[in-house]
């Protein structure tokens, strides 16, 4: 498997953050970049990252399977991770979950039939003052997910 030149350039930048001989430290960042490029982490992608860093594929797989934000299965174009931990739940996270399920016609953990949205539950994102919060594709954290805001944010997901 080959990554784009742009992704490889970003890999290099990550490796440079660590002392010589400590390339393994960049595995988290490189897996995240690989996932960003390809939408999910296939076994081939994980192995390619491992080969790039000169570490055993199992070492990269161990990391990919330990951290929650790596996706080891294909999913919708937009992954919506709604925080339902207690502080968010006290300010409408369960209402937001109900609204999203109804609007998208799916349950938590499911993907819409058109392949656009996957809805999952998340843990505290360190943003509880903005509750309820929702993370889009691991990158964009959206605050105060009242119905109108949810509508607006989903509309922006073309």
């Amino acid at each position: 498997m080959m990554f784009s030149a742009e992704t490889l350039r970003k890999f290099n930048r990550e490796v440079a953050k660590y002392p010589a001989g400590r390339e393994r430290s960049a595995v988290m960042a490189c897996l995240a970049l690989a996932q960003e490029e390809q939408g999910w982490l296939s076994p081939e992608a994980i192995e390619a990252v491992a080969n790039y860093l000169g570490i055993a594929p199992i070492a990269a797989y161990e990391v990919a399977s330990f951290y929650n934000m790596y996706d080891l299965k294909p999913l919708g174009k937009y992954k919506l991770t709604l925080c339902t931990n207690l502080p968010c739940a006290l300010s409408g996270a369960n209402h937001a979950a109900a609204y999203l399920k109804e609007k998208l016609g799916i349950a938590l953990g499911e993907t819409t039939a058109d392949g656009r949205f996957t809805l999952v539950e998340g843990e505290c994102m360190g943003a509880c003052g903005d509750a309820p919060v929702m993370l889009i594709n691991n990158r964009h954290l959206c605050a105060r997910m009242v119905p109108e805001e949810i509508d607006r944010v989903l509309e922006e997901c073309a």
């Binding site: 002392p19 430290s25 161990e62 300010s91 003052g129 691991n138």
Partner: protein, 445 residues
């Protein structure tokens, strides 16, 4: 969200704009007097022991949760040892209820960088990492931008300001694992491994990142350093109360009218913070507060109302100051349901290394879950006490204790509500009241 209110602010003074982050860039920070302390220290070659002594005088206690005195921690570093030594900043903020480090990084990233550079100078460290929570990618990108600015201006890197002191600093982005907030799991994670905590001893000061001497501090701890040195340790201490130096950024979430971050002096009465936060939502009655992040024992309303916000008062009341994150719950809250959600969290986030935690957190969740769902058994509270008691103190890291303490305290203070659940197979607080009480919160209403 900007900082929502302050009393005599130190760390957040001068944050600009509606979102508090108009002034995050280097030029703004310098205009506010930023990097002057680093410059002064390097130009005067201030003795490192003197800096550590000043931090000790301030009685700054670690803001990450354990409250360990920062100056003392710094003195454990073997400064004279040659080779790489590390300063690591913990911005993995994943303790439910805590959201101060995100705002500090968003609004004032250069205070963290300056604090880390001073810490490195004081401890003889030459490299550093800031480990940033996975879910706040936008904040991570901002911190990287701030690092670029600082590097270009010569505040980090080789031969800083011509002083001969060098400090290389980078950001490491987490990817979703609460346990990586634990300092040795965090080091494993920077090494590119699963975030499984290490046995201590050896402590990081002797065997840390890549086996080298390392000091890990919380974001708020490190960002406070330039301000403490500027005002002097004594003045910082006096800004708080004895044994509880300085001010603190408190994160207030849950059933209040104005959730958000508030910087106030240590020792401020809880009632005053509650008032700043707009009071209990909709004028309802306060039921309970988790005062120091989800891992600290819950306190019923009458107890927290008596507390001042400092380590001593909160621990006297039977809880922990923790990260200074207050989760406020009013009378519409079902305590069983609240505990069920927290227990699920610890079960999900246990790294699986220690049997008591891996299995125990699963048991705790299952039992609380069945009580909440009307399938509780008469001896369930005993089972919970037994399981929780067998996790606490029997694991490599404190995640096990963090899972056990909510269970023990919820049952201790709200026993009748749990018993009602078991007996009547439903909540004491009617479901529709709960649902309405935790509805979407709209600011300004």
């Amino acid at each position: 969200m900007a900082i929502m209110g302050t009393i005599a602010p130190i760390l957040t003074a001068g944050w600009m704009g509606a979102n508090g982050d108009d002034g995050w860039r280097l030029a703004d920070y310098v205009a506010r007097g930023g990097y002057a302390m680093l410059r002064q220290i390097l130009e005067n070659r201030r003795p490192p022991e003197e800096i550590i002594a000043e931090v000790k005088t301030s009685v700054l206690r670690g803001r990450g949760g354990a409250g360990f005195p920062t100056g003392l921690k710094w003195s454990f570093m073997p400064r004279a040892l040659s080779g790489d030594k590390y300063v690591v900043c913990n911005t993995d903020e994943g303790e439910p209820g805590t959201f101060k480090d995100r705002d500090i990084t968003r609004c004032n990233p250069h205070a963290i960088i300056e604090g880390m550079a001073i810490a490195a100078y004081a401890m003889g460290a030459n490299r550093g990492y800031n480990y940033i929570h996975g879910e706040i990618w936008e904040i991570y990108k901002r911190f990287e931008e701030a690092l670029d600015e600082a590097r270009q201006a010569g505040f980090i890197g080789q031969n800083i300001l011509g002083s001969g002191f060098s400090f290389e600093l980078f950001a490491h982005h987490g990817y979703g694992a609460y346990v990586c907030g634990e300092e040795t799991a965090l080091l494993e994670s920077i090494e590119g491994k699963k975030g499984q905590p290490r046995f201590k001893p050896p402590f990081p000061a002797s065997f840390g990142l890549f086996g080298r001497p390392t000091t890990i501090n919380n974001t708020e701890t490190l960002a406070s350093i330039p301000f403490i040195l500027k005002m002097g340790g004594e003045a910082y201490l006096n800004a708080g109360k004895p044994n509880n130096g300085g001010s603190k950024v408190f994160s207030v979430s849950g059933h209040v009218n104005r959730p958000g971050n508030y910087e106030i002096p240590m020792g401020t009465p809880f009632t005053q913070l509650l008032e700043l936060a707009g009071g209990v939502r909709g004028g309802r009655k306060l039921k309970a507060v988790i005062p120091g992040g989800s891992s600290s024992p819950v306190l019923p309303a009458d107890r927290i109302m008596e507390c001042t916000l400092d380590y001593d008062s909160i621990s006297k009341a039977g809880s922990m100051f923790g990260s200074g994150a207050l989760i406020v719950m009013d009378e519409t809250t079902c305590m069983v349901k609240a505990l069920e959600r927290l227990s699920w969290f610890y079960h999900e986030e246990s790294c699986g290394q220690c049997t008591p935690c891996r299995e125990g957190t699963g048991w705790l969740y299952q039992v609380v879950h069945r009580i909440e769902n009307g399938e509780g058994r008469p001896d369930d509270l005993e089972t919970l006490a037994h399981v929780a008691g067998n996790i606490g103190g029997r694991t490599i890291c404190a995640l096990g204790d963090a899972a056990a303490m909510p269970v023990q305290s919820f049952i201790q203070h709200f026993r009748d509500e749990f018993l009602y659940h078991i007996e009547h197979k439903t909540c004491l607080v009617p479901k529709d009241v709960q649902w309405a009480g935790s509805d979407f919160h709209r600011f300004g209403n």
